[in-house]
């Protein structure tokens, strides 16, 4: 047992049963029900640097490599280098005082326990709480190994994880603000002759809502997606001389019943990669990217979606990492993407 509170819970529950429903001492309202040891165990997922909360078990980087490639690499990169704007996991040692610091597990995180805790509670992004303790140990070990914090054959376990020291631990200190004292000066507070004025960058702020005709990003991810698709279509039209097709907004009416059924699945899972083209995923709406894949036959495409596929352009984990989805749900979503990408 690593969590003393659980022992207390069991003891107290026993005491409560003996005492019947008598109001607990110190309780003023007696609202709520006693939390049983079993209920607590189901939700008590947190890990502390001293190892409190770690489940009994172990794992290593050799087993973690394959797990990582299926569960993590699509966003974090095969080497932990990060795809697009997704977090970089590896490298950056010695850069924290640089002009552009690279904050990674190895260069910045103070405790190894945080890695186990975070993977267990929140990863993989599209399917949190789907990994077994064994998978979490293996992947944690692999990420630590990639950061050269443990050896490849080190068996990381509940017994030794708290003993894994992170290189940057000593560089954190507790908030000591206020660190700046500005006097409330009212006159002659600065020398105008030394004041320099810096202006904002142009073209990076969504300002279309108050500056008409501005060459600016959209004010939502969806709007930006449409804006970029439109610009791309115009760019191609410039080259081919063809007219720009109307935006794909009219398509839903043409979707088959199966594709319509897949739309909700898509918006709840697949879009994370297939909207952005993350990890080489064919973008929904990109006819060229889908044509070759559809050309191989829908059966093969669906089987790649269900069982996973590793090709020259990217990695498709089995069911995109969402093993909770039924085969039918994934198949419907594939039909939605294909039909939305003519």
């Amino acid at each position: 047992m690593f969590k003393l509170p659980n022992i207390f819970a069991v003891t107290l529950l026993g005491a409560a049963l003996v005492a019947g429903s008598a109001q607990a001492e110190g309780s003023k309202y007696n609202f709520g029900a006693p939390a049983s040891a079993e209920e607590i165990a189901g939700w008590d997922i947190d890990i502390r640097p001293d190892g409190m909360g770690l489940p009994v078990g172990s794992g290593n980087a050799m087993d973690g490599e394959a797990e990582y490639e299926v569960q993590c690499a699509a966003c974090h990169g095969v080497f932990g280098e990060g795809e697009g704007r997704w977090p970089v996991l590896v490298g950056g040692e010695g850069t924290l005082a640089d002009e552009r610091p690279v904050k990674t597990v190895g260069s910045y995180w103070p405790y190894a326990s945080t890695l186990f805790d975070y993977i267990r509670r929140a990863m993989p992004f599209t399917a949190p709480m789907s990994l077994s303790d064994q998978q979490v140990y293996d992947i944690t070990a692999y990420v630590l190994y990639m950061n050269e914090i443990i050896e490849e054959d080190f068996e990381l376990s509940n017994e030794n994880l708290a003993g894994v020291k992170m290189p940057n631990e000593a560089n954190f200190f507790v908030d000591d603000r206020p660190d700046v004292k500005n006097p409330r000066c009212m006159a002659d507070c600065a020398d105008p002759s030394t004041m320099m004025l810096a202006s904002s960058l142009a073209g990076v702020t969504p300002i279309g809502h108050f500056v008409e005709g501005a060459d600016a990003p959209a004010a939502s991810h969806e709007g930006q997606h449409d804006l970029e698709a439109q610009k791309e279509a115009e760019r191609k039209a410039d080259i081919t001389g063809e007219e720009v097709a109307a935006s794909h907004g009219a398509e839903p009416a043409a979707l088959s019943a199966q594709a319509q059924a897949g739309e909700a699945v898509y918006k709840g899972a697949c879009f994370v990669c297939h909207d952005s083209g993350l990890a080489g995923a064919p973008k929904t709406g990109d006819a060229a990217a889908w044509a070759d894949r559809v050309g191989q036959g829908m059966d093969l495409l669906v089987s790649h979606a269900l069982e996973g596929y590793s090709g020259s352009t990217g990695v498709m984990p089995p069911k995109g990492g969402r093993m909770d989805l039924s085969d039918k749900a994934v198949t419907d979503a594939v039909h939605f993407m294909v039909e939305s990408s003519h």
Binding site: S27, A35, D46, D179, A187, M196, S199, F210, E212, H221
Partner: protein, 439 residues
């Protein structure tokens, strides 16, 4: 086309504006501003718009006075006028990889008073908005307590309730501008900020029910969303003013704000106010989870980092004028803005027109509440002269909002979080307002 002189432009705008209905004024001004930027012809746009609306102006009876309107319950849950559809949350899409783990900003340039309407409160999710059924939502309290408890929403709403007006601010508010000015609009420089009346139960009441043990010094608060967002909070804060809230501005929490239950740590960085709150564990030490180590720690120039930087220090910004609210005409102007501090009440705000060389006291107006947005006002005249407009708030602890130079000197520019420096708007002779920094 040549750009008219400021005087001509202002005269054109003024003439056209007089022919416009109030509802069309905003659209006209937008076109006016873009004209200044050299994009559209204001005279044409103004005249065309004025013509289409002129039958609604005196001496004519407007269209809406000659017919009936909607009846009761046509909108069982009311929505703003269709003429206000531009008052919305917005984001900067390139900030994050997608919209699920992302942030949006409140349109504070369009808001009045100190309360943020529920549909406009800024959003921050780490795994999107969960669709929580309140009948199946539970709050578990366990750890170093005598009686581990599980509460239903019904249980929680039986406790005596409190209602308090408090701001919530993301510690990354303004964080895009440590290195230099970057955002050309107030919504993006300061919009990770909202203020509501929150209703719920003090967390200490719930912990007393569970019987906190003497060795309990910290709690871990955890959400029910896919991120299972978690933060460690010292017990002193809980005993002071932490609330467990289920309502905002008179109605149940919006899903975006943690429906049906969230933590509220007044004056502290927003992400400590865990949404979709499902679990409180009492412990003797902090947990050092991802959102208090990898993120939400303040990296300094020497490579060391502050952690548990909970308090949102005293801050302020001018909301009129601002890039979205240019000065429309010479003459009287009420310079208005918002001030706030995580350390208590705002004591006062000063305004500078010359980039911080000299300062004059502004007036606080309306409610001045603990850890709430506080509105300030400075009435003056503008006659087309350029301003370097700033506000500087100070709070009841004596802390005075710092300059950017002072913050950079102490912290460098890699901190991301907690940039509460004095903000500068450059008011141009055209009345346009630009985001600038003085160094």
């Amino acid at each position: 086309m040549t750009t008219p002189s400021t005087k001509e432009l202002l005269q054109t705008m003024q003439d056209a504006a007089e022919n416009l209905s109030q509802n069309d004024r905003r659209e006209f001004l937008r076109k006016g501003v873009s004209y200044v930027a050299g994009a559209a012809a204001v005279g044409t746009a103004g005249t065309a718009a004025a013509a289409s609306f002129s039958t609604n102006l005196p001496p004519n009876e407007p269209q809406w006075g000659k017919q009936l309107g909607r009846g009761v319950v046509a909108n069982p849950y009311g929505v703003p006028s269709r003429f206000e559809e531009h008052v919305v949350r917005r984001t900067v899409p390139w900030l994050t990889a997608e919209s699920i783990s992302s942030i949006s900003m409140s349109p504070i340039h369009d808001l009045k008073g100190i309360i943020t309407p529920n549909g406009l409160v800024f959003e921050r999710y780490h795994a999107g908005v969960p669709d929580v059924n309140p009948d199946e939502h539970r709050l578990m309290i366990h750890g170093l307590v005598d009686n581990p408890l599980i509460f239903t929403m019904e249980d929680l709403m039986r406790f005596p309730s409190v209602s308090e007006i408090k701001f919530i601010e993301c510690p990354a508010n303004g964080g895009m501008e440590w290195r230099g000015p970057q955002m050309e609009a107030l919504q993006f420089t300061h919009g990770m900020l909202s203020c509501c009346e929150w209703t719920g139960v003090p967390l200490k009441v719930l912990l007393e029910e569970a019987g906190i043990r003497p060795e309990g010094k910290w709690i871990l608060a955890e959400g029910a969303d896919g991120a299972h967002m978690s933060r460690s909070i010292p017990i002193e804060k809980i005993l002071d003013d932490t609330l467990v809230v289920y309502a905002q501005n008179g109605e149940m929490l919006r899903p975006e704000q943690g429906y049906p239950l969230r933590l509220l740590n007044p004056g502290w960085e927003g992400n400590t106010s865990i949404k979709w709150l499902r679990r409180i564990e009492v412990g003797d030490k902090p947990w050092h989870h991802r959102e208090e180590t990898s993120k939400y720690t303040d990296l300094l120039a020497d490579g060391t980092a502050r952690r548990f930087t909970f308090v949102q220090e005293c801050n302020s910004v001018i909301t009129n004028p601002c890039p979205e609210n240019p000065i429309k005409k010479p003459g009287f102007i009420e310079i208005e803005g918002l001030a706030w501090t995580g350390r208590g009440k705002i004591k006062g705000v000063d305004v500078s027109f010359d980039g911080g060389v000299s300062w004059q006291p502004a007036q606080l107006k309306g409610l001045v509440l603990d850890k709430a947005l506080t509105r300030f006002s400075f009435q003056t005249k503008w006659s087309g002269e350029p301003w370097l407009l700033q506000s500087r708030a100070y709070d009841e602890t004596g802390y005075v909002q710092p300059t950017l130079a002072q913050l950079r000197e102490q912290r460098g520019v890699n901190s991301i979080y907690h940039k509460n420096s004095i903000h500068t708007w450059q008011v141009q002779p055209t009345g346009e307002v630009k985001n600038v920094q003085i160094t």
